[in-house]
C-alpha cells in the first residue's frame, strides 16, 4: 500500500442551501496521477478550492502529508507543498513571464524589505539563484525564450504553461491542475500529457480536473467521478469507464469511445 499524501474525509461545502460538495472522501497516494472528472457543476473546482483553502470546509477533514489542514491559510498550505493552477487563468498580467514564475519562488526565498532596499550581498545572491531556478522551470515548459515578455503577449496555450511553470517553481509535493487542457489545441494537449508525466517522474503527485477524456484516461492512475457534488465512482480509468452510474451521469458512453477499448489495461495493472 503506497503512502497517502492527501486524505479527504467526508468533505462538505454548501452555498446558500445548494450542496456543492457532499460527503466526498478520497485518498491520493504519493507519486500518482489522480484525476477528478464529472459533468459541469459537479463540484470539481469547489473541491480544489477546499483543498487549497480558498473556501472553508463546512464539514469533514483534510490531511496533507500526514498533517491536518485545519486552520491553515492558503499561503501556509503553499509553503507546505501544495500548488495549483486555475481554470480561469490567474496570471499576473502586469508582469513578465519570468516575473510570474519568480513569484512562484516566493516560499523558497527569504529576502525581506531591508535586504531588498539595500541590496545586501545575501539578497543579490538569492536573487541570482531564484532567477536561475525560474528559468529552469520555464525551460521545462519550453518558454525560456519568452521569459522577458509581458505575459499578456503569449497565446492562451502558452499562458496555461506559464501557470504550470509558476506552480512548479514552488516545488510542490502535490500539484493541483484545474482543467489544464481546456482550450488547448491537439498538439498542445500532447505536450501537456508529456509534461504531466515528467512532473510525476520528478516525484510530484498530480491531481487533475479535466474534461478531455482522452488525456485523463491515458494519463491517470486513478479517476474519481463527481456528479452533483457527490462521489459516484472511483478506480482505474477502465473501472470507471465501465461503471454504470458514470455512464448514466454522462448520458451515454460516447464520451469514452475516444480511447480504444483495452488501451488502459496495461496502466490499470
Amino acid at each position: 500500500m503506497p503512502e497517502t499524501i492527501l486524505k479527504a474525509e467526508s468533505l462538505k461545502k454548501e452555498f446558500g442551501g445548494v450542496l456543492a460538495v457532499y460527503n466526498v472522501s478520497f485518498d491520493v497516494a504519493r507519486g500518482e496521477i489522480f484525476a477528478i472528472i464529472g459533468p459541469n457543476g459537479a463540484g470539481k473546482t469547489t473541491l480544489f478550492n477546499l483543498i487549497t483553502g480558498v473556501y472553508a470546509l463546512d464539514d469533514g477533514t483534510l490531511f496533507f502529508d500526514g498533517k491536518s489542514l485545519e486552520h491553515t491559510a492558503p499561503y501556509e498550505r503553499a509553503a507546505r507543498g501544495l500548488a495549483r493552477t486555475f481554470q480561469n487563468l490567474q496570471l499576473f498580467t502586469n508582469m513578465t513571464v519570468l516575473e510570474n514564475v519568480l513569484v512562484g519562488r516566493h516560499t523558497k526565498s527569504r529576502a525581506g524589505l531591508v535586504g531588498a532596499a539595500l541590496r545586501l550581498p545575501a539578497m543579490r545572491r538569492e536573487e541570482r539563484l531564484v532567477h536561475e531556478q525560474a528559468m529552469l522551470c520555464l525551460e521545462k515548459v519550453g518558454l525560456a525564450r519568452r521569459a522577458n515578455q509581458l505575459v499578456g503577449y503569449l497565446s492562451f496555450g502558452q499562458q496555461r504553461l506559464v501557470e504550470i511553470a509558476r506552480a512548479m517553481a514552488t516545488e510542490p509535493k502535490l500539484l493541483l491542475l484545474d482543467e489544464p487542457g481546456a482550450g488547448l489545441q491537439r498538439k498542445d494537449i500532447d505536450n501537456l500529457d508529456n509534461l504531466i508525466r515528467q512532473l510525476r517522474e520528478s516525484g510530484m503527485t498530480v491531481v487533475l480536473v479535466e474534461h478531455n477524456m482522452e488525456l485523463v484516461m491515458g494519463i491517470a492512475d486513478r479517476v474519481m467521478v463527481l456528479d452533483y457534488g457527490i462521489k459516484i465512482a472511483d478506480g482505474t480509468p477502465l473501472q470507471v469507464q465501465q461503471d454504470e452510474r458514470v455512464i448514466a451521469a454522462y448520458l451515454g458512453a460516447e464520451v469514452f469511445t475516444a480511447v480504444p477499448a483495452g488501451a488502459n489495461d496495461v496502466e490499470a495493472k
Binding site: 487549497t52 480558498v54 491559510a73 492558503p74 499561503y75 503553499a78 509553503a79 500548488a83 495549483r84 486555475f86 490567474q90 496570471l91 499576473f92 498580467t93 502586469n94 508582469m95 516575473e99 519568480l102 513569484v103 512562484g104 519562488r105 516566493h106 516560499t107 526565498s109 529576502a111 525581506g112 524589505l113 535586504g115 531588498a116 532596499a117 539595500l118 541590496r119 539578497m123 543579490r124 538569492e126 536573487e127 531564484v130 503577449y153 509558476r166 506552480a167 517553481a169 514552488t170
Partner: protein
C-alpha cells in the same frame, strides 16, 4: 555602485542628481527654490503612496495623516522634550510606522471603495483629533517654534540649504524604493495587485505585505513631515487636510500608478501646475483667484485620465512599447510598416 542599483536606474538617478544639484544655481529667486522643496516633500509622499496604490493595488485617501503625524511628532519631540532634531525625526518615523502598522491590520482587510472610505475616515478623525487635543498639538492654531534641522553643529537655515537636504533624502528614498520594487518584496506586492488569490496560492501572505507596504509609506510620509516642520517651523491641522490626501492620489495617478519614477514626475507636475495656475489664471480671467485654479486643475486631470489612463509616464511608455511591438510584428510578417 552598479551592484547597489540596477544599471539603467543608476544612470537615470545620477542624471537626476546632477540636475537637481545645479537647479538652485539657475533658479532666479527664493520663491522657486521653495516650490522645489515642496516638490521634494511631495515626491517622498507620492513614492510611498505609489508603492501602496500602484504596486500593491490598495487605495488610501488618508495618506496625509502620516505626513501630519510625522510633522507633529517631530515638533513635539523637538520642542517639549528638546530632543535633537535629527533624533526627533527618526523617532517620529519609527512611531508613525508603528502606529500605521496597527491601523493597517484592521483597515487593510477592506477592499476597494470600502478601503477608500475607511482611509478617508482616518483622515477626518486625525484632523479632528489635532484640533481638539489642544494640550499637545496646540489645537487649531497648531504647533510652533519648532527648531531648524541641525546635523552636528551645522544648522540648515536657508531655503537653498533646505533644498539640498530635502532633495538628498528624496533621492535616497527614491533609490531604496527602486530596489524594493525590483525584488521579492516588490514582486509580491505586484502579484497581490494582479490576483490576490493566485499570489496566496504561491505562498504570498497578502495581508502581511499590504500592512508592510502601508507602514513603509507611512514612514516615508513621516520623514517628509519632519522636513516640513524643520523648514517652516510650525504645523497646523490644515496641513493634514483631506485636500492634501486627494492631491497625493492625483499625483500618483498622473505620474503613473506603478512607477517609482512616475512619482517624482507626478509630484512635480501637480505642484508646478498649481503654482503656474495660481499666477496665470487671475491674469486670464479677471476676478479669478485662489479657488478657481482647482477647476482648471480638475480639467487637466480629466484630460490626462481620458487619454493616458495609466498616467503620463507609464502611459507614454506603454504607448511606445505597444507601437514598437506592433512594428516588430509587422516586420516579421513581411509587411512594410507605414511611417
Amino acid at each position: 555602485m552598479k551592484r547597489l542599483l540596477g544599471y539603467s536606474n543608476l544612470i537615470t538617478l545620477l542624471i537626476l542628481s546632477v540636475v537637481m544639484a545645479i537647479l538652485p544655481l539657475v533658479l532666479p529667486n527664493n520663491y522657486q527654490v521653495s516650490v522645489m522643496i515642496f516638490v521634494a516633500l511631495f515626491t517622498i509622499l507620492t513614492i510611498g503612496l505609489s508603492l501602496l496604490m500602484g504596486y500593491a493595488g490598495q487605495i488610501s485617501l488618508g495618506h496625509a495623516v502620516f505626513y501630519g503625524m510625522g510633522g507633529y511628532l517631530t515638533g513635539i519631540l523637538a520642542t517639549r522634550w528638546s530632543l535633537p532634531p535629527i533624533l526627533a525625526m527618526f523617532l517620529a518615523a519609527a512611531i508613525t510606522g508603528g502606529i500605521a502598522y496597527f491601523v493597517a491590520i484592521p483597515i487593510l482587510r477592506l477592499r476597494g471603495n470600502y478601503l477608500a472610505m475607511a482611509t478617508l475616515g482616518l483622515n477626518v478623525i486625525f484632523t479632528l483629533f489635532l484640533t481638539q487635543q489642544t494640550d499637545w498639538t496646540g489645537g487649531p492654531n497648531g504647533l510652533g517654534s519648532i527648531p531648524k534641522l541641525s546635523l552636528g553643529g551645522w544648522v540648515v537655515k536657508t531655503d537653498v540649504q533646505m533644498y539640498y537636504v530635502a532633495w538628498f533624502i528624496t533621492l535616497v528614498i527614491l533609490a531604496l524604493s527602486l530596489n524594493i520594487v525590483n525584488s521579492r518584496f516588490g514582486r509580491a506586492l505586484r502579484s497581490i495587485h494582479s490576483s490576490q488569490i493566485a499570489a496566496e496560492m504561491l505562498g504570498v501572505d497578502a495581508a502581511h505585505y499590504k500592512v508592510a507596504v502601508f507602514s513603509l509609506g507611512a514612514v516615508y510620509a513621516s520623514i517628509a513631515g519632519s522636513l516640513y516642520v524643520f523648514w517652516i517651523g510650525l504645523i497646523s491641522p490644515s496641513v493634514v487636510s483631506i485636500n492634501l490626501s486627494v492631491e497625493l492620489v492625483v499625483m500618483v495617478a498622473i505620474g503613473g500608478l506603478a512607477s517609482v519614477w512616475g512619482a517624482i514626475f507626478g509630484a512635480a507636475a501637480v505642484t508646478l501646475l498649481t503654482e503656474v495656475l495660481r499666477n496665470v489664471l487671475p491674469q486670464l480671467l479677471s476676478g479669478a483667484s485662489g479657488e478657481q485654479e482647482i477647476i482648471a486643475f480638475g480639467l487637466i486631470l480629466m484630460i490626462v485620465m481620458i487619454f493616458l489612463p495609466e498616467g503620463l509616464t507609464t502611459g507614454s511608455l506603454l504607448r511606445y512599447r505597444r507601437w514598437r511591438a506592433d512594428r516588430q510584428a509587422l516586420k516579421e510578417l513581411g509587411v512594410a510598416p507605414h511611417a
